[in-house]
Structure formats: structure tokens, C-alpha cells
């Protein structure tokens, strides 16, 4: 399984290479080549796995030397974090790195002897994650090549550190591969810390005050999760003499000894990483960074790491108090942040809120912990990764072209930069419209929550999906309406590598939507079988076929109608303005008899759904919920 080691190490080599290359063109070419190699390696891994009959592969049992390297890297990381914290006078944050690192180091050097375990495990879930990381993440890196060129033309005051940026992106990919392929908790912990630090560095890219503030917030929240993770690992290792994630889950499924606390702690850590309330602010603050890093954090890496680990734990937490905590927090986050998105007019903020909201739904699915909910969760993860990445990239390219990412300024984008508007349109449609997978997954989540008797979750989904469709549709409406902008065409300055990534994403979006039944049968069902040992079909075949018909219908009808209506002659008239048009649809006569331009705007209700206030309330409520349930969990053990 040398390819696994290659996947983890090669991105690091690429990172070093990108850091050293000073010339932009060479670096972009290098990055492209590197991404191609990574994709090929993942395909090779998939090939080996398939030719092995798609069985779970366990390997690397004796890794004495690697364990030492990993510990050394962890200690180095601790020094880096401590140094950075001291430089910015945030001394207390460094404690969140020093304490867990020392704890882990003590455990490895002085702690009890642990069982011999495999350190790398390849199964359906990790293969899926590898595909998402390599392809979505890879194309985001390709996209960055073009994006960063324009970014620095617009933001002249920011010192270009593109080599540093690319290095971080590659390290991120490597750490993610390590994270999803490891089955030793100690290894997982290291890669976890690396992603935390990487995201911190990416968020702080611009080095202005806001960026530094937000990056440290992201750091402490993630390190807090990391501390919980480390404590959980050491607790489990100390008492159960093993650090295998598999054993932990398997024991946890039967309510084994010493499992409740580590599972609760790891689930807590996963929720910080998945930016659930009350820890959502770090992800919302992460958008100060250049768009590719937001795309990477939101779609392919970082937050998905939290979801991934929750899916792994799902069989063990279903029906327990930890599961209740996870599902309640997830459902609550889904609902609150989807309301929060209504009040935003900044495109990236809407995307960020919607990411947190969708993550909430996935977290809730994991918390319920039934095979059906994980089916929905995995589907959500696939669709969300693709459409969110597409949306971030399209919004980033739009920002470069029109100089703003405010949704109000995207008025009539369909007529100004049709290509980019089309990509945003497809991305949004993927997030909530009928034939696309997100909606189908939501449907499955609803059904599964009813089946598992989770009343609160059903209410959250019913109300939350209503608000979700509100903020997405109004954005779509903005793209297609015209008037005060008609005539002003913008130059589309999207570069070829950005374009390539956008096209691939849009294509993937539609392909995955059409292939939904195939993916479900060939991939997700076996995945559930592996996780749970048993599996009941969520959507029976006839429903899937009917669904497929509807998908084709919903694509075909507007297209046919469009072709038809093109042939029909339309008698175009002025719009109704109480008879005071100025001869076109763009202006009218005001009360002074002068011409006034018509300006159309969306509702944001910032007085009713004030996002900042909602966030504070949400954090308080979620915090209270968390404390109460953590007390219940601890109480359950003591009793």
C-alpha cells in the first residue's frame, strides 16, 4: 500500500516545491501537474481496492519509526503554534496546543502498552473521502492559479504570498488524505491538528486586523476540539489499551466499557470542526481569506473531516445520549443558520451560512445514527461538496469580474456575464431544487427522522427547508431580473484554469444527479453495510426509477419549452408603472416631474432576522443544550 504513503507525503513535497518556486507561471504549471499526479494516485488506490473485491483493507501494523516521526511532527506543530500565539500576544491559545501535545507525548512514551493495530484502513467511506479530496480539492487548486492572479490585481494593498498560499493548500490535501485513511487514533490526532493549523494560516492570509482576529478565533475553536480529541484518545488508550478507532466504534456499539467518554469527546471535537453552534463563528469568519481557501474549507476538506469522523462514530452513538446531543445540536444549527442566511446580502456570507446549515443536517443525520440517516448524510456530503465548491468558485470569479460579491450587485448577471451566472444558477439549483440530490437527501433525512421518532428533528427539517428555499430562490431571482443594469455588459475575465474547474464542477453536479440511483446502489449501500453490518434499503428501486424519470422531466421540460417559445413571436410591451414610464423599463417620472431610475432590491429583513443577534442567541442556546447534555452523559456514567 505504498500509494497511501505516497498520497500523504507527495502533497507535502508539492507544498515545499510550490513554496520555493517564485515565478507564478511555473508554480501554476507545477500545481497542475501535482494535482494530476494526486488524482492519478487516488484512481490507482481505487483501482487496487476494487480489484481486491472492494474489501476493507487494513495495513501497516508495525510502525515504530512512523510513530516517532508523527510524535515529532506533533511537537514541532506545538512549537509553531506557541510561537505564533506569542507573536500575536494570544498566550492562552497556546495552552490548547501544549496541553494535548504533552498528554499525547506522555501517553506514547510513558503510557501503558497498547494493542497491535493496523494504522491504515481503506474502506468505502475513506475511498469516498479520498475521491472528494482529490477531485474537488484538486480542481480548487487548479482554479486558484487563475483566481489569485486577479485577486492581487484587485487587492493591491495585500502583499502577495502566493507561494505560501499554494503550499498551504497542498499541505491541507495531504493532511486530509492522512486523516481519512488512518485508523489509529494517534495518527488521526496529528492530521487533525495539521488541518487546524493549515486553516488558521489560510484564514490569516491577508494579514489585516480582521483576518488575524478571525484566524485566531478559528485556531482556538479548533484546538479546543483537538484538546477534547486528545483527552478522549488518551483516556481510551489508557483504560482500554488500544488506540484503534475501529475497536472503539465496535465496542461502543455494544455499550462497552470506557467507550462513552471517548466517543462523547471525539463527537464534541467533530462538532467544533464541523462548525456547529456554538462554534459556527470560525467558519463564518473564514471568508476573509481568498475564495479558493474558502471553497476548500467549506467543500472538500476541513469541515468534512468533522462529518467524516461523526459518520464513523454513528453506529456507536445512535440511540445514546451522545447521539441525542449530536442530533439536537445539528438540527438546531441547521434551522438557526438557515434563518441567518436570509438576512445576508454578501454572497460569500450566504454560502457560509448555508454550509453551516447543511453541515448541521449531516451532523444530525450522524447523531440519529441509523443506516437510513447515514445514507442521507453521505448523499448530502457528496452533493454539498460539489455544489458548494462550484458556488464558491463562481462567486469568486464574479467578484473578480464585477468587483463585488454582494448579491444586490449581481442583479441581471445572466445578461452581463452569462457564463458565470449560469454556474451560480446550477450551483444554487443543486442546493435546493427538486431533481437535485440535496432535496432527495433531505427527503430521506426527514423519513429517517420520523422513523426514529425524533420529533424535534422533524420540525427542524420542515421549518428549516422552508427558509432554505427562501434565501436561495431570491438569489436566483436576482440573477435573472434586469432593468437598472440592462446594457452594461461586463468583461468576463475568468482565466482558462478557473474555467476548467468550473466546467468540471458543473458537469459533475449534473452527472451525480443523474447517476444518483447507481451511486446509491453500488457505493452507498455497501458503505452502510460496512459501517453497520446490516442495511435496509432507504429508497426502494421503484422510487428511484420514478425519481430518475422526474429528473429527466424537470430537465427536459424547461428546455423544450424554451425552444418552443423561441419560435413563437412575442409582442414585447413596456412594464406597468402606473403609466409613468420614461419610455423604457428602467426609469419613471418622479413627483418633481424629473426622471428617476428604477432600482429593484430584495428583501433581507435585517431588522427581523438580524444575523448577529441570531448568532448570539443561537450560541447561548446551543451552549446551554451542550452543557445540559454533557452533564447527562457524565451523569449516566457515574450513576
Amino acid at each position: 500500500m505504498a500509494v497511501v504513503i505516497f498520497l500523504i507525503c507527495f502533497p507535502l513535497v508539492m507544498a515545499l516545491a510550490s513554496y520555493l518556486v517564485r515565478d507564478d507561471r511555473t508554480r501554476n504549471l507545477l500545481a497542475r501537474a501535482g494535482v494530476a499526479v494526486i488524482m492519478a494516485a487516488v484512481l490507482w488506490l481505487v483501482f487496487i481496492w476494487i480489484s481486491g473485491g472492494r474489501q476493507v483493507i487494513n495495513c501497516y501494523y508495525d510502525t515504530e519509526a512512523a510513530d516517532h516521526i508523527i510524535l515529532a511532527v506533533e511537537v514541532v506543530l506545538m512549537f509553531i503554534i506557541t510561537g505564533l500565539c506569542c507573536r500575536h500576544r494570544k498566550y492562552w491559545i497556546s495552552l490548547l496546543s501544549i496541553v494535548p501535545t504533552l498528554l499525547i507525548a506522555w501517553f506514547e512514551l510513558e503510557g501503558p502498552e497498547t494493542e497491535r493495530i493496523s494504522h491504515i484502513q481503506i474502506d468505502h467511506l475513506s475511498i469516498l473521502m479520498c475521491l472528494i479530496i482529490a477531485f474537488i480539492g484538486g480542481f480548487i487548486i487548479i482554479y486558484s492559479g487563475g483566481y489569485m492572479t486577479h485577486y492581487h490585481q484587485h487587492h493591491v494593498r495585500i502583499k502577495p504570498r502566493k507561494n505560501y498560499f499554494f503550499a498551504m493548500l497542498f499541505i491541507f490535501l495531504g493532511a486530509m488524505f492522512g486523516f481519512v485513511l488512518s485508523s489509529s487514533l494517534l495518527w488521526i490526532d496529528l492530521f487533525w491538528e495539521i488541518t487546524s493549523v493549515c486553516s488558521f494560516m489560510l484564514i490569516g492570509y491577508t494579514r489585516d486586523e480582521e483576518a488575524i482576529y478571525n484566524s485566531f478565533r478559528a485556531l482556538w475553536m479548533n484546538l479546543l476540539g483537538g484538546t477534547a480529541l486528545a483527552v478522549g484518545i488518551v483516556y481510551y488508550g489508557y483504560f482500554a489499551h488500544t488506540v484503534s478507532l475501529d475497536t472503539l466504534v465496535a465496542e461502543g456499539m455494544h455499550g462497552g466499557e470506557f467507550t462513552t467518554i471517548p466517543i462523547a469527546l471525539i463527537a464534541f471535537a467533530a462538532m467544533t470542526k464541523a462548525a456547529q453552534l456554538p462554534f459556527s463563528t470560525w467558519l463564518l469568519g473564514a471568508m476573509v481569506a481568498p475564495t479558493p481557501s474558502s471553497a476548500l474549507l467549506h467543500s472538500a476538506t476541513m469541515v468534512k473531516a468533522g462529518i467524516y469522523i461523526l459518520f464513523r462514530l454513528a453506529p456507536a452513538i445512535g440511540g445514546t445520549r451522545t447521539g441525542m446531543l449530536v442530533s439536537l445540536i445539528g438540527g438546531f444549527t441547521f434551522f438557526v443558520t438557515s434563518i441567518m442566511a436570509i438576512g445576508q446580502d454578501d454572497g460569500k456570507k450566504i454560502l457560509a451560512c448555508s454550509t453551516v446549515s447543511n453541515l448541521g443536517l449531516m451532523v444530525a443525520c450522524a447523531g440519529i445514527g441509523k443506516a437510513e440517516t447515514i445514507w442521507a448524510g453521505v448523499m448530502l456530503m457528496i452533493f454539498h461538496a460539489i455544489s458548494k465548491s462550484l458556488l464558491f468558485q463562481a462567486v469568486g470569479a464574479t467578484e473578480n469580474a464585477i468587483g463585488s460579491r454582494n448579491v444586490e450587485n449581481m442583479h441581471g448577471l445572466m445578461y452581463r456575464i452569462p457564463m458565470l451566472a449560469m454556474f451560480i444558477f446550477i450551483g444554487i439549483a443543486g442546493m435546493f431544487l427538486a431533481p437535485f440530490g440535496m432535496l432527495i437527501s433531505k427527503w430521506a433525512a426527514l423519513k429517517a427522522s420520523v422513523d426514529s421518532g425524533n420529533v424535534v428533528m422533524v420540525l427542524f427539517i420542515a421549518f428549516g427547508s422552508a427558509t432554505t428555499s427562501f434565501y436561495w430562490s431570491k438569489w436566483m431571482g436576482k440573477l435573472i431580473s434586469r432593468s437598472h443594469v440592462s446594457g452594461s455588459r461586463h468583461e468576463d475575465i475568468t482565466l482558462p484554469d478557473e474555467r476548467l474547474s468550473l466546467y468540471v464542477h458543473a458537469f459533475l453536479m449534473i452527472a451525480v444527479c443523474l447517476l444518483l440511483p447507481v451511486i446509491s446502489r453500488l457505493f452507498v449501500n455497501p458503505l452502510l453495510l460496512e459501517l453497520f453490518g446490516q442495511y435496509k434499503v432507504v429508497l426502494p428501486l421503484e422510487v428511484l426509477i420514478l425519481l430518475e424519470l422526474i429528473i429527466i422531466f424537470v430537465f427536459a421540460v424547461p428546455m423544450a419549452a424554451y425552444r418552443y417559445s423561441k419560435r413563437v413571436k412575442t409582442n414585447v410591451k413596456l412594464s406597468y408603472m402606473s403609466g409613468i414610464n420614461m419610455g423604457d423599463n428602467n426609469s419613471f417620472v418622479d413627483s418633481f416631474g424629473a426622471s428617476r431610475k428604477l432600482w429593484l432590491s430584495n428583501y433581507y429583513f435585517s431588522d427581523k432576522f438580524d444575523p448577529d443577534r441570531l448568532m448570539v442567541y443561537g450560541q447561548i442556546m446551543a451552549m446551554a443544550l451542550m452543557i445540559v447534555l454533557l452533564c447527562l452523559i457524565v451523569g449516566g456514567i457515574l450513576a
Partner: protein, 288 residues
Amino acid sequence: MKMNIISALLYILLAPLAGALMDGVGRKISARMQGRIGPPILQSYYDVRKLLGKQVIAVSPLQSFLLISYLVLMVLTGALFFSGSDILLSIFVLSTAATFLYFSTVITSSPYNTIAASRELIQIMAYEPAVILACVGFYLAAGSFQVDEIASTNTCMLLYTPGFFAAFVFILTIKMRKSPFDVSTSHHAHQELVKGVTTEMGARNLALYSIAEWYENVFLMGMAGLFVINSHWWSIPLTALLVMATFFLEILIDNSNARMKWENMFRLSWEVTLLAAGVNLLILMLIR
């Protein structure tokens, strides 16, 4: 299977007829309530027939294609429902149809239309939870999301789902664009929004919109009827009675209420949904 296809076909063929009649009867009853004689029962049909014969007049040439999509998806919603397939599936197609109506409205960029379109979205946000919860109610009471299985149970759903039904009737006022919840459009052109979402629809396009409305109303009445219908013969007249009573109630509400502000509409419908449907949900989950 055969029966299902036949009933779907019957819906596609007969729903416009039923919808037009419903519209006509509704206008008649309304008129009588106001002490007028009112138009002939077939007036809506005459209007649409005449509109269909006209040329396409629109502010944006793209409007007709969006309206056609809206109409076809609306037909699909009802066809799925009456063919007895999954009720959630038809609700999802319904919401996609509603999105197309929204597109066809904003694309004109006329001031009245744009405000009405935003309000249309608020309406969707206001009624969607109740509709989804109604489906959940059916599922809890009948053990299936399949319409044909819900319709052939042994008992009357309403006994288990009165709260869901109350919430559904409440939001039906929004869906059928009746006062006090007709915030995005109304039947009278002299109000602050002119004709709301239909302000810029004329000639052929208005006809498409009206036909879609007929299909929608028949579908909604079908969904109301699903609360009663079961395997016993007596449930059929009872269903008819309930549907007529619901329809009459909507007209009564329409005529006895002034239009509300959208804020109040939104708040009220969520509160009613949460209280009526939410409590019902809780009880059903507990006794299951």
C-alpha cells in the same frame, strides 16, 4: 398499476374542467355573499378560452417558457399525487413548480411584479412547513408516504391528524390566494400591488397561469380529501362533503377578512403550524 395510470390521466384531462368549475362556483358564492348576482359559472372558462386565442404579449420574451414549465410541473405534481405515488415526491415537484412561477415573475423586472415575487417567496416560506408536516402526519397515521396506501387504510386519517388538517386548511388560504393572506396577488387590480404576480401577465401567458391555478386547486382539494378517504364506501361521500366544506370555508374566510400585512401572515402561519401540527406530531409519535 393500471388503475394508477388511469387516475393520473383522468386528473390531467379533467382537472382543468373541475378547476374552472370550482373557480366559477367560488366567484358565484362570493358574489352572493356580497349581494351581487355574479358572473356565469363558466365565466373563467370563457376568459381562458379567449385569452388562449390571443397572441403572446409580455414584458420579457422569456416569460412564456417559464410559465409553460410552471404549468407542466404543476400537472406533474397532481398526476403523481393522483397516480398514488409518494406524496413527498409530489410536494417537492410542487415546490419546484412554485420556483418557476417565481422566476417567471422576477424576469420581467417590473416594480410591482418584483415586490409581488418577493412576497410570493414569503408565502412559500410560510406554507411549506405545514405541507411537509401534513405528509409526515399521513406517514405516521398510515405508515406510508404512498398516496394509494394512505387512501386505502381502514380508518379515517382525520381521527389521527386533526392538528395537521387544521394547519393545512390554515395555509390553504395562502395557497389559494384568498384574503386575508393574498399578499402576493389578488383578484382585484385596484390594490397596492396592482395584480401582484400576474401584473405583467397578459393574453396567452395569463391563460397558462390560470390553467396552472386550476390544476393546483384540484390537487390541493385532493390533498384535503386524503385526510378522510379510506377503504370504506361511506368515506367517498364524506370526502366529497369535506372537500366542499373546506372550499366553502375558504371563500367565507376570503369574504370576511381584510388583507393582512405579510409579517403577520408569516408569523401566524408558522405559529399555527407549530402549535396545531407540532402538537399533533408529538402525540402521534408518542402513541406510535
